[in-house]
Symmetry: C2
Subunit: 102 residues, 2 copies
DNA sequence: AGCATAGGCAAGTGAACGCTTGCCTATCAA
DNA sequence: TTGATAGGCAAGCGTTCACTTGCCTATGCT
């Protein structure tokens, strides 16, 4: 329905948020690299396909961008879509609020 | 699992985001006021109970605070939890990133 | 008191979601 | 060419989620 729907749906899962954390620490990781990090550092017993699906969701939301090089596919973080959240509810413009009279 | 889970789950639904929009325009609305606004302005054919459940989710996430006065219950917006998102991935500190060597 | 208004609780339903399993394609090294 | 590595596609399963329906409590007006 909403255009922002993909973004918020992508952020709704804790595994996907952890993936964003990992890409924040090191951008340009491959699928297998992300897999091993989630397994080692975060003790997440999760399959490769599950993570692949998570990455697809993050890519649909614009939070992750990919580039292919040979048999490797690198995943880069893009935090730009997150600005929507700030712009929507943390905008400094409070000039046209209605008065509170129940 | 995560403590931030409530926040992102709350934002994952488009109706709840619309409620936040409405509370941004006018804080301190009652349940019925929110109901009529969603119905009129946003053409959302949704029951009162559904909206009540949405407000409970938003309150659990800390995005909405409530105060009772007689038979009225007013709902106030609290955008403070949204700062978590900025702090987590939009933090200006990029000093301790790892180098990208696949 | 009697009735309308404002809100709450709980069970049930259909759809979406997260994850697994199994198999397939593509790239590179021996 | 064979084998290993990196990734993709799709069906199936159990859980969670959004929403409805029905009934109940509390406050206020006349």
């Amino acid at each position: 329905m909403d255009v922002a729907d993909d973004l918020f749906k992508a952020l709704a899962d804790s595994t996907r948020r952890t993936i964003l954390d990992e890409l924040t620490q090191k951008s340009g990781q491959t699928l297998f690299e992300i897999c091993s990090r989630l397994s080692m550092k975060h003790r997440l017993g999760i399959s490769r396909q599950a993570i692949s699906q998570h990455l697809a969701v993050l890519e649909a939301a614009g939070l992750v961008e990919t580039r292919r090089e040979g048999r490797y596919k690198f995943h880069d973080l893009n935090t730009a879509p997150l600005r929507q959240i700030t712009d929507r509810w943390l905008a400094p413009d409070t000039s046209d609020q209605e008065e509170s009279t129940p």
